[in-house]
Symmetry: C4
Subunit: 326 residues, 4 copies
């Protein structure tokens, strides 16, 4: 096979943070959302998981459910505390006679204390009940300090808001071929000093063992000043590429995974933002080229970026080229 | 035309994030306030717009109106909820008989719950009303957590506070000419490691098609250690300039747009700040030079920076120079 | 001694921020947790200590105790203020007759004011008591603003969450030997652009004086693109190493301290994070090699990182190698 | 004069952000606290001043006074509003008959509303009063959101906490002389990647005009890896120095100002911090050398940094050296 002979002359890289026996075949290294396909074991879960960051990256609906559940649980807990110390110490609850009524009075008194709304129709008396109420209102304030921080952290978390083309394509390029993918920002943000780094993980047989080799893919342009519209990232498949002279079938046999890291300065956040994704060989369209995704507006007053065309491509003939090269 | 022959030897740049068919003629690429003159379509608006950043960059008055409207709407919504579950469950509202009176009681009870002020003259009773009030006070706390974050985000957002001269000028410089613009900080902030980057977008005809070409303009000084007073950014129009040997009329025909990016370290925020602006050919003063905008104070005790003189210039003869060069 | 002759040709470094007469022998320069083993004197403690940062880095339990103590103290202080101005100005406390009862009423009124829960069963009357209550509720809001900031600061503080191997090992490496240590992230975070810097402090006799010399240790790989799994940091002991040709006993005699600094970009925080640690000669395992700590999952779907194996090593024969080199 | 002849061969620098006609003689460019000795005029003060940053950098006592004054003013304002709409709409204030009593009731009701403590002994009734109270509690929440942000901003503002020696000294160094100053961190913080940059502003006569020239001073070590103890920054006065061969009297005649900028990475804040200061020729000690300011602790367990010795120096003979050089 021409490809594997050639690859022996290429230097694979060791500094990817993944080892040669990590999983490529079957599983992937990086999930499409950029997280690592990895499980850490050996230390307790509460040391392994950053609760703060889990809450920070949670979907909004789930986050609200977590808060509501937390709020209800705390109230139930304190309601029982008030019941234990005697609901008669809650002045204004004389009307409550059944257990349910007493519990509801205690529960809603708890919620009025926790949120510090404190209407006062019901109020604590006696040292123990007062102490519990005092502790609960402190706890309420601390909890909501935490929630304030979480909510601020959630919306101020620097993110690149990048849209990647769902497919990467293998297109004719200059005299040869190139691997291409496309990226654009989908929010009203503006990135500058944008850098792309593409690494390919290739599944190889070495002395009858399955190993994973990593190669940095050289790019036509690995850094652009500004990303206002879209950017087609191009890896020309030359002699310095591990994909050099591989046919469509040979590429599939590598079971390759292409890891893309974009790093940029975002002036929304005045911060560096980073986004990762990965493509497997199954997401490769062989013999296609991207179609333009922006155009001048009809009145030539502004530029129109069509985000739903991020993956717009058309098929182009490729096979004969490959044959002539081989 | 001398200019266009010359330009063929210059290398235009591809890494601006704008394409060659984006809009220059008529519209502009970058608005004077630094935002991109661009519309994104193809995905729903709530995915395209970052609500947080929209609220962050909103004018103060508008921001306060948004908050007040939000506050009133929530109260109206909850007032109706209390009405539906029966205003008689709001203890202390016996005096209210007409619908308006009942609504007002419910509305103001709602506002006392949302802000957690909870005077208690009116207080909830019954499970349903208590549950709504409990949810509203939780929602109040979450909303104000959000507002706290927004307000903090608004005033802590790193900004360069740069004042650009409204015009750029074409001045005699050394043996030839130079394009100049002036910049100063207008707040009590101090920038260090200040970098300027100037790109010109030029409208050209190529094979009967209108295309936009981008050129990086080399600067006399593209980085200064510290920006305490003002900085005149100078592009000497030499052979490496796309404006080389262009007459006033030829410059106008390029319909050029000059995009300026300033990046610096601000010790207010201990952060990198960035500000953009752009000038079109209509903002160019041909044959002028900037007048000084700072001076030693009368008692020589400090330096005086006159910000209203940022655009102060005087006309200087230019034409004959251009002719002799051509 | 071969080693000390050799070391005279090496250049020690002066830019470590430690002096040659700072403490190495006996004490250490950097504690295992990365803090500096240093005391600052000569200015008052409140100028030397950053209260904010002390509260930020405090263990969680201790932090909660500090807050609870602060809350109780403030309440006790204000309770006495209310007692002094007359507990009869607290409307609703008529039932309290003994000092203890009066104090408890004042104390719990204070806590209801500080947390702004304000039930209203007890409320202030009279100018002085009202003024105190008004001041206390302002103070409550300011304190809890501070606590909100602290809590946010605590969980948003950028940290690398790095686990270092408790030991460093001296292993056979290529033709010679190498000093190795291992590092992995233990949370669900992902580091990119990871840099390691290793400095060794060596205790030497110079003209009968004990001095400390610092040497930068060159690394096989001092920067990796990404740290997803584990990273074994390797210093090959060649001629450019201050440990060149030292026997096990000679290494112990240097009483060396190895200072490790890791700096990386963390995409949790979108910030640069840094973590330090140090190893003394007592933590060196002579003649060992690290065992793998990650493997493909049984179903090859993901990679499994076993954090409890961070220090997993096995002994390997070394001595004869050393002898042949000497 | 040897010095001024020599200086003509040195290149002064233009990128300091100060111009040659800014003030040095008499006044200074940078104040000892690092702020710029500069006044900006020509635009309204509210555009020139960043209120947020003014509040952020204010001394703590002054900041608390501002908040207390703001709180009292708002309460007085709303107290008058409640008086105008009729204090009889404040239920529970029937006992107040005199104007003072009515005002106090209104004032304290206002404070209970603003802080959302809302005891409820006094509560609003009627649409107008309810509307005002509702607006006030919203305003209270917004104000305290602002205060929360300010307090967080105040203590989380990245600062270098550097102590500079009050004097700079001119000391014998190697074969010649050197200008030295000393710096240390005075809090429990630790700086890494510390860079120093020293610029000298020299007052010169040029064609009978007073001009200010700026020269970058080359340093023996302009960057250190880590600043744990103290750092003596050394400018050796060689041929590349504008102070070369100047006598004590000639140095005084330059009326020089030495501007020092330190930039570092602080792991407290995980951020870059920067601190500036400046020395005038009046702060120069001619013929002195710094004494050590740290030592091993008596039990050799740690290092002791004596911050009150930051300016400790002893006089050393210098004059003859200068003469022999001239």
């Amino acid at each position: 096979m021409a490809g594997s002979h050639h690859k022996q002359r290429l230097r694979d890289i060791k500094d990817t943070g993944f080892g040669s026996n990590s999983s490529v075949e079957g599983g992937r290294l990086i999930n499409p959302d950029g997280s690592t396909n990895l499980r850490k074991v050996g230390i307790p879960i509460w040391e392994r998981i950053s609760i703060y960051h889990t809450l920070l990256r949670m979907k909004r609906a789930k986050f609200l459910i977590v808060i509501f559940t937390f709020y209800t649980s705390i109230n139930i807990f304190f309601a029982f505390l008030y019941l234990f110390t005697g609901v008669d110490h809650l002045v204004g609850t004389d009307g409550a006679t059944s257990f349910t009524e007493k519990f509801m009075e205690a529960f809603f008194f708890s919620s009025q204390t926790l949120t510090t709304v404190g209407y006062g129709r019901v109020s604590p008396s006696g040292m123990m009940t007062n102490f519990i109420a005092s502790t609960e209102s402190l706890m309420g304030i601390l909890s909501f300090a935490l929630v304030t921080g979480l909510i601020y952290g959630r919306f101020s978390r620097p993110r690149a808001y990048l849209l990647f083309s769902p497919n990467m394509i293998l297109a004719p390029f200059k005299e040869g071929k190139a691997l291409m993918l496309r990226v654009a920002t989908y929010k009203n943000n503006h990135l500058t000093d944008v850098e792309a780094q593409i690494t390919v993980a290739i599944h190889e047989k070495e002395h009858n063992k399955n190993v994973t080799r990593f190669y940095q893919l050289p790019l036509e342009l690995s850094r652009i000043n500004s990303l206002a519209l879209s950017w087609t990232i191009v890896h020309a498949i030359g002699e310095d590429s591990p994909l050099y002279n591989l046919s469509k079938k040979e590429i599939e046999e590598t079971k390759m995974e292409v890891i893309v890291i974009i790093k940029a300065f975002d002036d929304h956040f005045s911060n560096i933002v980073q986004q990762r994704t990965s493509y497997t060989y199954k997401q490769l369209i062989y013999g296609a080229k991207f179609l333009p995704m922006f155009e001048r507006s009809p009145d030539a007053a502004y530029t129109l970026l069509e985000l739903d065309r991020i993956n717009a491509y058309e098929m182009v003939p490729m096979e004969e080229k490959v044959l002539s090269e081989a």
